[in-house]
Each structure stands twice: as C-alpha cells, then as structure tokens.
Amino acid sequence: MNWNFDEIIQQIGQEQQLIASLSELESFRIKYLGKKGLIVDIYASLSSASNEDKPVIGKNVNILKNKLAGFIDGKKKELVDQKKKDSVSEIDITIPGVAPSVGHKHLLTQTIDEICELFKNLGFVIQEGPEIETEFNNFDALNIPSNHPSRDGFDTFYVDKKDPDNKKGNLLLRSQTSPVQIRVMQKYKPPLAVIVPGKVYRPDALDASHSFMFHQIEGLLVDKNVKFSDLKGLLEAFCKRLFGKNIKMRFRPHFFPFTEPSAEVDISWESGKKDWLEIMGCGMVHPNVFKAVGYKEGQYTGLAFGLGVERIAMLKYGIKDIRTFVENDNRFLKQF
C-alpha cells in the first residue's frame, strides 16, 4: 500500500485548524492515534510493504506520529488554558441542580421542637398526656371550681363517653395542657421539671385568630424553694433565646385558677415603641393544686407556664391567619 504523506499532512493540517474544543481534539486524536487510527493502520501496512518502501514509510510514519503527538499535547494545553480563561463555562451552571428530595417538618412541629429544645437544655424533660381527659385532671385538680364558666359546654368539648372517675360526668377534650401537670405530679415526687407539648381543644368559632384545635406547651418546675423571681428569670432567659436578645419583656399580673400569683408575659420587639404582645401565661403553682395531687402542704413550691404554639409561630413568622397551619398548602409547607 502506498501512502501519500504530503496529502496526509495537508489533510491533517486542515483538520487541525478547525479544532476548537477538547472534545473535537479527542475525536482528532482517536482518528489518528487511536487503536483503530491511521497511524496504527500505517504501521500495520509495513508488513506488506516492499523492502525498499519500508524504511521510507517507517521514517515518515514516525515523524508523523511525533508531530501529531506534539500537536495534541500543545493544543490540549492551549485549549485547557483557554477554557480556564473563559468567563462562560461549557455547561450552563445556572440551571438548578437536581436536589435530592427532602421533605419539610411542619412549622408547628418546628416551633414545638425549638421551644422544647430550649427547655431541654435547661434541664426539663418532655412529657405528654392524653387528649381525652377527665374533669378531675382538666378542672378540679387545677383548682377550677365546679361552677366555673370554663366547664360549660360553651368552653369545653365533651365526648360521649363516661368518665371512669365520675360516673355522672362525661370525659372531655382537654382545654389546656395543664392536666399533664397533674398526671406528672401524681406519678413522680419532686424535684421535677417537665415540658409538655400537645393539642388542646375549645369550642371557639373559626376565624383568623381562633381555632377549635390548637397546640400548647406547658412547663412545670416543682421543688423546695422555687421562687417567683425564678419564674421571672427562667422565662426571661427563654424569651431572649426564642425571640432575640434585644426584646423587652414585662410580667403583667393576671388571674389563672391554678397559679398564684399569676402573670401574663408581654414582649416588645422595638425599643421605645410600646407595642406589647402577649405571648404566654405563667405563675406560681397554687397550693390547692399541690393538695389535689397529695403533696404535703407547704413542702414544695413550683412555677408553671403555658404558651400557644400557633400564636408564637404567627408572631415569629408573620403569619396572619391561624387557619394557614391546617390548610397545609404544599407551598406553605415547603417555605419552612
């Protein structure tokens, strides 16, 4: 076989000019230096070449091979350098990456987790209780007298199941997480520090700020010599962690049957402007509550507090309508 090296070189020269990318260079390499490339073909033909052609072809092919190799190395370096300098990359780096599918915790769960975590770090233990409760745990033991308005059907849901402790009464849907205080105190002796998240129910008409089901978190600390100043200090530490160091706080006297003294906690974001937002209720555990769980009079003091999770989340994230949480719009879920 005869090889026209001049023509080959000319052909190669033309092709070389057109190479503008690494992939084109690679195709070029394969075409000439690849396992089935031209150079291999030429070497293969040597065996059948005449004796006088052999050294000529051999010399030429060696030169050609070296040239090609030299060109490819040089061009590769050139192209890589050029690519490094290029301001626009080869692939469209702005197309979104394909994210592994990871879901979102509901904002209420996130808020509950965040609050419980803060108290866990302070030494509180998470406890839960049932949603269907007895009148004793939801009212009597919490020093709520039997004629109290909150026991009316207007303020508490009752279910069609008899209370095992009070055959005359029906069981109810707890209207607060406080009955868990009673359950915990009946089960354990102080010192105790518990934090109780959960759902509560009240027959409130649905609107932007009311719901018949919402979430509360309740805290209880009982020991010898728990003081009112401890209540203040604890909740100040909590609010600063949850809402930021720069908030202002005040404890406003209030009334709850199961604590005395009782207070509501207000916070204010802006300094100067007196725009107080009520965020939680708290107080010193009422002696009648200790009596109801069988603690000896005067032996322990305690502090308790409770907050509405929806309310906190609404304040924190600027949500205007409480129904947003249970609508569960996918776009809402994915925001948090």
């Binding site: 394909v98 599918s101 990871v102 879901g103 979102h104 915790k105 509901h106 769960t109 030494g123 509180f124 233990v125 406890q127 839960e128 949603e131 269907i132 308005p149 009316d152 059907g153 849901f157 009752y158 279910v159 069609d160 029906n170 915990v184 010192p191 105790l192 518990v194 027959p203 409130d204 008409a205 018949f212 089901m213 600390l221 020991d223 003081k227 009112f228 100043s229 401890d230 203040k232 200090g233 604890l234 005040r250 404890f251 406003r252 006297p253 209030h254 009334f255 005395e260 003294p261 207070a263 010193m284 002696p287 003091t301 949480f325 249970v326 609508e327 569960n328 719009d329 996918n330 994915k334």
Partner: protein, 675 residues
C-alpha cells in the same frame, strides 16, 4: 368595663398623666384595653379578671388606684335611715336562687330630667340617659357595683313582687322591646300574674318607669351568679347588671347600694318612702378571712427584699385590717368584699401586684437532674418523622375533629367517639381514621394546582376505647422533581409502600407483612393490609375512584397509607449488635422467570431461603415485566440471589449447586417458565 377619669377624681386627687395611669393599672393586674376621650373626660376600658368582681365599679377602682399610687381617697356618705314598718308584698320562692331582696316603695316621685352631674358621669361610660330614675339606678350600679331596678309600682298587678323560676312557655317583652321566651331554668321577678323582669338580666317593658310614673318600687337584690350566667347565655342577652351578677356582687352592697340610690332619688325627685322590705332567703358567708404570714415567708416566696412597711402599706390601702407583731409577723383581715383572699399566697399576690412584678428581682432557678425517664414512644415518633422527611415527604397537621358526613363519604362503618356539644357539624366526630383529613388536604392542594404531593402526618385517631398514635401518608402525582426527566414517573403502590417500610424499619421494626385486603375505600387489587405480629395495624393502597370523586379529586393516582403505631412504639427494641462485614467475596446470580400473575414475590423468597442453605445471603427483587412478550396470565420477574459465607471464599461450583436447585424448584413448585 369602663371607668371615667373625672369620676375617679371625685374620690382621689390625681395629677397623673392618663397614659401613665393606664400603664400603672395594667401593671397592677387591671388591664387597660383602650383609653378614649369623651368630651372633657377620659375613659379607660378595662379587662377585669373574674376573681375581682369588687373592681367592677368606680369605688372599687378608686380603692385600687389609691393603693397603686399610695394616695388617700374619700368615699360618698351614705345616710342611715329609720326603718319603715310597712312592708311591701314581696315573696322569694324557696330555693329559687335569690339570696336577698330589698324592695322600697317610694311614692309621689317626679320623673323627669336627670341632674347634669349624674348625666355627665353615666354618659361618659357610654350609657344613654333615659330619665332621672333609671339614670340614678345606673349611676349607683356604676359607682357601687350593685345592680338596681325600678318598677312602675302601679303597673305591678296586685302590687306584688314574687321572685320565682319562670314557667315553661312564659314570655316577657324586655325593655329593649324584644319578646323573649322563658323556661324554669330562668329566674324572674313576677307580679301576681306574669314575669315583670328577667332577674339580674333585664326589666320588662310593661312595668318600666316612664314620665307618667308616680310611684316606684326599687329593687336591690342578690341573685345566684351561675343562674344569671346561664340565663344570660341562654337568652343571648347580657347587660351591665348581668355582667356583675354573674361575677358575684357583694352581699352587703345590696343594702348600701339601695340606700345610696334612695338618697339620690329623694334628693332629686322628691317622693316619700312608704314601705320597705329586706328579705334574706339565705346568707352568704360573712366571716372575715384572717391570714397571718411572716415577712420572711413573703420574701423567700417572691425572691424579694421587701420591708414590713412596704407590705403593710399596700394592704392598708387595699382595705385590709393589718397588725404586726415583732419584726416579722403580719396579721391581716381581708375586707369582706375580697372573697378571693383565703390563704397566704393570696395576700402575697396582693403585695407583689401592687409593688409591681417589675420591681421583684429575677433569678435563674436551680434545676436538679430528674429521675423522670425520657418518653421512649415520643423519641421513636420523632425518629419516624425524621426518616419520612428525609424520604422527601412533607409533614402536615390536620384537625382531629371531622364531620359525620366526611366519615360516611368513604363507605366505612367504624366505631367512633362523638362530641356532645359540637360548635358546627364539622366537629361532630373524633376521627377514627386519618383518611378524611388526608383527602381534604390532598383535594385542597390538587385544586390549587399543587398536583405533586407527598404528605404525612403523625397524629391521633380515636376509637370508642382509646386514642391511638397513627402514621398516615398520602401521595399523588409525580415522585421526583427532576428537570432532566431522568426519573419522571407517576407515583405508585411501591413508592408509598417503600416510604412506610423504610420509616418503620428505622424505628427498629422489621416484621411488617403485607396481606391481601378488601378495604372499600381502596381500589380493588391495589391494596394491602399491613400486618405486625399477625395483627392488622393498617392499610396501604390506591384510593378508589369512587372515594376520590366524592372528595372532588380529579387526579387518578392517589395513594394512601395508615398505620397504628401504638404496638410498634411499645415494643422494646432488641439490642442491636454489630455484624462483622465478611471479607469473603459474594457471588450474585440472577434468575428470570415467567410466573402466574397470582404468584407473589414473598413465595419466591420463601422457597429460595428454604433451599439456600447457609450460603444464601439475600434475595433482591430487580424487575417486573407485564408486556406483550409474555402470556396474558403471566408476568416476568427478575431477582438476584447473593451468595456469601462469613467463613470462606465460595467456589462457583458449590454456589451453582445450590443456585440451580433453587432455580429448578421454583420452576417445579410455582409452575414457572424460565425466561
């Protein structure tokens, strides 16, 4: 409740800015909700807590202000009058709910214009001036907190007053000109023939005082708070009187209130008292509450450093009788109208409230390590939640109360717990299953063009016997979002099953089985019962078209799973121990068979392990073929068998021996065809 600043100044010299006073009231537990200007006056709107009925009047509030500002105050003088012998004809039915009733007949009054100073005061509080009689009763109500009512005596049939329960079907037109139907749960004031007032709530039109009235009968009474509250709720009617009766008026004010009003009536209307009656059906306890406490107790409870003088001065201003002994002891007697003061903490609260919670220091509590064990079930639920979220599902929270209609919508007859007093039909039932909640959310999203959903909730369902922890998943649309379309496909049974299995496995439970089932609300043939230790604990499958249609979901592939977690959360996980990762290589062989459609993969697996000796390590499902290259009643399955030994390198020969046997037995026992 409203109070007027000018009126307050009748009792206390005040030179405080209204905003400052407002703030001080709020910080003493008398929350000011609004401050408005009414003419030259300023009106504070207060939210008084239910334990403080004594603050629901100007005098009560002046006492609070005097304590807060530590300023002296004066109170109006109330005359003492000679008892009149002639009695009004008044009876109180036994046990009807009226503790005391004072009736005073004043004859020859001149009903007409109200003195300006009274008019100004009551109008500031938002009351409309009617005539001098009505205005004076309202004035006294606002000043002393004692509700009063004046009847036109000549319109009372038989000149009689009977306090009794209403009869069934009895009616009355109240002064707001509404006709109201009564029943025996409602206490009324009646004359010889008919009710003339709804006790404590509102008077009747026919006996009201008008410009032609000559003789009036003034009522001052104590009605049972609960009775008044229920009547008011039942009738949907509240008034300044009912508001105060509900919270409890002061028993002694029945008399002083009456006297104060009579003073004002005689002063401005003339007239002569001709008859008077004071009936006491039952006495409310009148024992003063004595509480003794020590300064040390106060300070150690509050964490404060108050002095004896701090404490006694506050209590004195609030009307307590206080004496001290030694350097530490404080003996107190609470005023009779303070029925809320019963024990030491009640007195401490009064001191703290007036000193100001802001003036009590803050300290961090000393929290001891607890012997309460963490709640294992909750920890597992949290783990489950985390796994599901990392599997790409979004968590939702839905109402536990649903409507009966919703329950009927998926053809299931289940035992459920009802709410006795639902507010609306949407809250009649405690959900016995999560399906309605999940479908509502799915439907809401799909209708808002959110077609690709993967949602779960860990919540509760409620049976007749108990509430249960439940995990529920709903999926529809496409599984993954990938613009390269590498894995674009509609979700199916295996997607939801995979999520469920993976999550449950991660809380340490490997024994879930899936069995044939016939749930009405799931598509026949694309559903399973989830079994744990041979008990059905839930279901998984495609929601039936019929159910989807009822929920207005037009998208077809909706998959639902629900599993009761109680048993799963309860079990004590076996101690996990490390399995040595064998260094000897594994050999993987595939088997491809055509089997009858009814043959389950679980059967194949069972046979394989039966014959696999101890070298068969795992059987993995790889592919299912349902195309037309196979007989209609058959399907193609490919699965791979991994052989491995922990003690040696297996030879191809010994693996082939076992593998061929498995292959052959599968073909024999399952009538399978090699593909």
């Amino acid at each position: 409740m409203k109070i007027s600043l000018n009126w307050l100044k009748d009792y206390i010299k005040l030179d405080i800015k209204k905003d400052e006073l407002s703030c001080k009231l709020t910080m003493a537990g008398l929350e000011v909700e609004a401050v408005t200007s009414v003419g030259a006056d300023t009106v504070f709107e207060l939210e008084i807590t239910p334990n403080r009925p004594d603050c629901l009047n100007m005098l009560g509030m002046s006492r609070e202000v005097s304590a807060i500002l530590n300023k002296p105050r004066k109170t109006p003088t109330i005359s003492s009058r000679k008892k009149i012998k002639d009695k009004c004809d008044i009876t109180i039915d036994k046990d009807c709910g009226c503790a005391r009733y004072i009736g005073t007949l004043i004859e020859n009054v001149k009903v007409g214009k109200t003195p300006d100073w009274i008019k100004k005061r009551i109008e500031a509080l938002g009351l409309r001036s009617i005539n001098n009689v009505v205005d004076i009763t309202n004035f006294t109500l606002m000043e002393m907190g004692q509700p009063l009512h004046a009847f036109d005596y000549d319109k009372l049939i038989g000149g009689k007053i009977i306090v009794r329960r209403a009869k069934k079907g009895e009616k009355i037109v109240t002064i707001d000109e509404e006709e109201r139907e009564l029943d025996p749960s409602i206490l009324v004031i009646a004359d010889d023939k008919r009710p003339v007032a709804i006790a404590g709530v509102m008077g009747g039109k026919e006996t009201e005082v008008t410009s032609r009235t000559k003789n009036i009968l003034l009522e001052s009474a104590y009605f049972d708070p609960i009775l008044i509250r229920r009547a008011s709720r039942k009738l949907g009617l509240t008034s300044d009187s009912s508001y105060r009766f509900e919270r409890g008026v002061f028993f002694d004010a029945v008399e002083t209130g009456s006297t104060r009003a009579i003073d004002l009536i005689l002063e401005s209307l003339g007239g002569v008292i001709t008859k008077t009656t004071d009936l006491i059906a039952y006495k409310l306890s009148k024992k003063p509450n004595n509480v003794t406490l020590s300064l040390e107790a106060i300070n150690s409870f509050l964490g404060s450093a108050l002095t004896l003088k701090n404490c006694t001065s506050v209590l004195n201003n609030l009307g307590f009788i206080v004496s001290t002994s030694g350097r530490d002891k404080i003996k107190t007697t609470a005023p009779l109208f303070r029925e809320d003061i019963k024990q030491v903490v009640d007195v401490i609260e009064e001191i703290a409230r007036i000193v100001g919670f802001g003036n009590i220091p803050s300290s961090l509590p000393f929290i001891k390590a607890s012997n309460i064990l963490p709640d294992e079930s909750r920890i597992k639920r949290e783990r489950l939640r985390d796994v599901l979220i990392s599997s790409g599902l979004n968590e939702i929270v839905t109402y536990s109360l649903i409507s009966k209609k919703n329950l009927e919508q998926f053809n299931q007859s289940v035992d459920f717990l009802s709410i006795i007093n639902p507010l609306t039909q949407d809250q009649e039932v405690m959900r016995p299953t999560m399906l309605p909640s999940m479908l509502s959310v799915a439907s809401g999203n799909i209708n808002k063009k959110q077609k690709d959903i993967k949602l779960f909730e860990i919540g509760k369902t409620y049976g007749k016997d108990k509430e249960k922890e439940v995990l529920s998943i709903i999926m529809s649309g496409q599984v993954l979002e990938d613009w390269r379309q590498l894995s674009k496909k509609d979700c199916d049974y295996y997607d939801i099953k995979g999520c469920l299995e993976q999550a449950i496995k991660r809380v340490g439970v490997r024994e879930l089985k899936f069995c044939n089932s016939q749930h009405q609300f799931l598509e026949a043939g694309v559903q399973a019962s989830v079994m744990f230790k041979d008990k059905a604990i839930g279901c998984v499958g495609q929601v039936s078209d019929e159910v989807l249609k009822r929920w207005g979901i037009k998208q077809g592939n909706v998959f639902f799973a629900e599993v009761i977690l109680d048993k799963i959360l309860e079990i004590q996980n076996k101690k996990k121990s490390y399995k040595t990762i064998t260094e000897y290589p594994s050999i993987v062989y595939d088997i491809s068979l055509a089997v009858d459609k009814k043959i389950r993969f679980s059967q194949i697996k069972e046979i394989a392990f039966e014959l696999g000796t101890d070298i068969l390590f795992d059987v993995q499902f790889k592919e299912e073929y349902l195309g037309d290259k196979i007989a209609n009643n058959m399907r193609g399955v490919i699965f791979s068998l991994t052989y491995q030994s922990p003690t040696k390198t297996l030879t191809e020969q010994e693996v082939s021996l076992v593998h061929n046997k498995i292959n052959q037995e599968l073909i024999n026992r399952l009538s399978a065809i090699k593909r």
